[in-house]
C-alpha cells in the first residue's frame, strides 16, 4: 500500500471510528460499556491526531484534503468526546451511551462535507438522534423538544442564509443569526440545560463554529460584523449580568458560553487559530464540567490554558480590525475575569483576607479533570508553536 492510500484510509477510518464506537457501546454489557467507550474515544483521538499529522495528499485523496484548522478542530471534538466519556459514569440506557459518539461523528462529517448545506443536513441528523434519545424517558419529552427546537431554528436560519446570494448583507446577517443560535450563545438563546443535553450540545456547537469558519467566504462583510457584534454582546452580558449569581456554581454556569462568544468574534475577525484554541476550551472544559472550579476558570480565560492564549490572539487581531471594538472587548473580558475570580483568592490578591486558594482549586481531583487540564495547558502551548512553525 502506498503512503497516499494509507493517509486516505486513515482519514476515512477517523470518520467511521466514532460510529463504530457508538455501536460498540450499545452492544457491550452495561458494566463494561464505560471501558469500551473510553477505549473507542481514546483511539478516535489518536486517529484524529494521526489525520492531522499525516495529511492526505496525491490523486486518490481528492475530497479528503482540507484546511489544517478544520483538521485540528476535529482533534478538539475527539478530545471533547474522550473527556465527556471519562467524566460520566455508566449510563444504564443503551441509546443514551451512543449519543456523544454519534453526535461527535456527525459533527466531524458535517464539517468536512463538500458543501456547507450538506454539512447542515448532517447536523440535522445529529440533532434528530440526540433529541429522540433525550425524549424517550418518562417526563422528558418537553425538555428534549426545547433542545430540538433551538437547534432546528439555528439550522433552518443558516440554511435560509445559504439560499440567498453570496456576499449580500441579508445573507451574512441571516447566516450569522443561524450559527449564533446553533452555538447557543446566552442572551440570544435560552440557557441550555445541563446534564444529558451537553452530550449533544458540545459537539454540535463545536461543529457550528467550524462551519462558521468555512462560511465566512460566503457570508461577506455582514457575516463578519454580525458575528463580532453577537460575540461582544454575549461577553458583556456575561460580564454584567445582574447579581443573581450568588454562589460559585451559579457564577461558573454564567461562563459556560464565554469561550464560544470569543470564538465567534475570532471567526468574525478572521483569526481562525484563536477560534481553534477557544473551541478547545469549549470542548474540553465546557459541557457539564462548568460546576467545577478549574473548568470555570479555564472558560473565563484564566492562564494557563488554550482559551487564555486564544483570547490574547483574538484581541491582537481585533486591534487591527477596529481598536474601538478591541477596547470594548478587552473591557468586557477583564470585567468577566473579575467576576469569575473566586472570592477567597480575591481577598488574598487584594491582601485583605486570610484565606488562600488551595491546590485543589488549581489541580482537579478527578481523572477527567486532570486530562482536561493537561490538554488545555498543552494545547495552549502546542497550537501557537504549530502556528509559528507554519502548520496553520
Amino acid at each position: 500500500m502506498r503512503f497516499e492510500d494509507f493517509t486516505v484510509l486513515l482519514a476515512a477510518l477517523a470518520f467511521v471510528w466514532p460510529f463504530l464506537g457508538a455501536v460498540g457501546v450499545c452492544l457491550a454489557p452495561t458494566e463494561r460499556s464505560r471501558d469500551v467507550a473510553l477505549w473507542m474515544a481514546g483511539l478516535g483521538c489518536a486517529l484524529a491526531v494521526a489525520v492531522f499529522v499525516f495529511l492526505a495528499t496525491g490523486g486518490v485523496s481528492a475530497g479528503w484534503e482540507d484546511d489544517p484548522v478544520q483538521r485540528a478542530g476535529r482533534v478538539m471534538l475527539a478530545l471533547g468526546l474522550w473527556v465527556t466519556v471519562l467524566e460520566h459514569g455508566i449510563f444504564r440506557e443503551r441509546l443514551l451511551r451512543s449519543v456523544p459518539h454519534v453526535s461527535t461523528a456527525l459533527a466531524g462529517l458535517g464539517c468536512v462535507a463538500s458543501e456547507a448545506a450538506i454539512g447542515l443536513g448532517i447536523l440535522f441528523l445529529a440533532l434528530a438522534w440526540g433529541v429522540f434519545v433525550f425524549m424517550r424517558p418518562a417526563g422528558q419529552a418537553l425538555a428534549g423538544w426545547q433542545i430540538g427546537r433551538t437547534g432546528a431554528v439555528g439550522l433552518l436560519l443558516a440554511l435560509a442564509g445559504l439560499t440567498l446570494p453570496a456576499h449580500g448583507l441579508t445573507t451574512g446577517l441571516v447566516l450569522a443569526c443561524g450559527l449564533v443560535i446553533m452555538t447557543g450563545l446566552t442572551p440570544f438563546c435560552a440557557p441550555a440545560r445541563e446534564g444529558q443535553g451537553a452530550l449533544l450540545l458540545v459537539p454540535f456547537s463545536g461543529a457550528a463554529l467550524l462551519l462558521a469558519m468555512r462560511l465566512r467566504a460566503y457570508g461577506g462583510v455582514g457575516f463578519d460584523m454580525a458575528l463580532v457584534a453577537a460575540g461582544l454582546v454575549s461577553v458583556w452580558t456575561t460580564a454584567c449580568l445582574p447579581a443573581t449569581a450568588r454562589t460559585a456554581e451559579d457564577r461558573a454556569r454564567v461562563f459556560r458560553v464565554f469561550p464560544v462568544a470569543l470564538a465567534l468574534m475570532a471567526v468574525g475577525v478572521g483569526a481562525d487559530v484563536a477560534a481553534l484554541l477557544l473551541l478547545c476550551g469549549w470542548c474540553v472544559a465546557g459541557g457539564s464540567r462548568v460546576g467545577q472550579g478549574w473548568a470555570a476558570r479555564a472558560l473565563a480565560c484564566f492562564p494557563p490554558g488554550a482559551p487564555f492564549v486564544g483570547c490574547l490572539l483574538m484581541l491582537s487581531v481585533l486591534v487591527d480590525w477596529s481598536w474601538e471594538l478591541a477596547l470594548l472587548a478587552v473591557a468586557g473580558v477583564l470585567l468577566g475575569i473579575a467576576r469569575a475570580w473566586p472570592d477567597a483568592s480575591a481577598r488574598t490578591v487584594f491582601g485583605t483576607g486570610e484565606q488562600t486558594m488551595g491546590f485543589r482549586d488549581l489541580w482537579p481531583e478527578d481523572r477527567a479533570g486532570r486530562l482536561a487540564f493537561v490538554t488545555l495547558a498543552g494545547m495552549g502551548f502546542l497550537v501557537p508553536l504549530a502556528m509559528m512553525l507554519g502548520a496553520f
Binding site: E115, L120, L125, W145, A152, L156, T170
Partner: protein, 186 residues
C-alpha cells in the same frame, strides 16, 4: 415574484396569529408558488415536500386534544413584530438583490416569531414547520439542490420530532380512544 409567493408570506403571518390551522393552506400555497417558479424536477419535489409538511401535522394532531398551554397577554404583538421584520427584510432584499422579493425569507421570519413568542408546543411546532417551508421555497426559487435537500431533511426531522413530542405530551381524543377499543375488541 408571483402572487402565490406573496400570499404564502401573508399566510405565514396567519400561522403566527392563529397557529396550526393555517399550516395546510400555507403548504398548498407554498407548493403553488414553487411550481410557478424554478426548474421542473426541483419544483415538483419541493411542492410534494411542502404539501407533506402542511398536511401531515394536522392529521397527527386530529388524534389528540388541543394544546391547552396558556399564551401570554400580548397575543397581537408577535404579528406586528413579524410584519416589521418582513418589511425590513423586503427593504434590505430589494436594495441588495435588485428588487427580488425574498418571500422564503419572510416566511422563515414569521415562523421564527411563532417559535420565539408562543409557549405552546404545537404552536412552536407550526412555527418550525413554517420556517422549513420558507427555506424550501427560498431554495427552489434560487435553484439550489443541496440546500433544498438539507431543508427537506430538516423539515422531515422537525415533523417526526414534533409528532413524537405531541404523542407524549397531548392527551388522546375520546373518539380516537373509542376507535382503538373497538379495534381491540374485534
Amino acid at each position: 415574484m408571483t402572487l402565490a409567493a406573496v400570499l404564502a408570506a401573508l399566510l405565514a403571518l396567519g400561522v403566527v396569529a392563529r397557529g396550526m390551522g393555517f399550516l395546510p393552506v400555507l403548504g398548498l400555497v407554498d407548493a403553488v408558488a414553487m411550481l410557478a417558479s424554478g426548474t421542473p424536477p426541483l419544483t415538483q419535489s419541493g411542492a410534494g415536500v411542502a404539501l407533506l409538511l402542511g398536511i401531515a401535522p394536522g392529521l397527527v394532531l386530529s388524534r389528540y386534544q388541543a394544546d391547552a398551554t396558556p399564551e401570554g397577554q400580548q397575543a397581537a404583538l408577535p404579528s406586528f413584530l413579524a410584519l416589521a421584520l418582513m418589511v425590513l427584510l423586503l427593504l434590505a432584499g430589494s436594495r441588495v438583490q435588485g428588487g427580488q422579493f425574498p418571500a422564503g425569507l419572510c416566511i422563515v421570519a414569521a415562523g421564527l416569531v411563532s417559535v420565539a413568542c408562543r409557549r405552546g408546543m404545537v404552536w412552536q411546532w407550526a412555527g418550525l414547520l413554517t420556517c422549513a417551508q420558507g427555506v424550501l421555497l427560498s431554495a427552489v426559487m434560487a435553484g439550489q439542490v443541496m440546500a433544498f435537500g438539507a431543508g427537506a431533511l430538516g423539515g422531515l426531522v422537525v415533523l417526526v420530532l414534533g409528532a413524537l413530542c405531541a404523542q407524549r405530551v397531548l392527551p388522546r381524543r375520546a373518539r380516537a380512544l373509542k376507535g382503538e377499543k373497538r379495534r381491540n375488541e374485534v
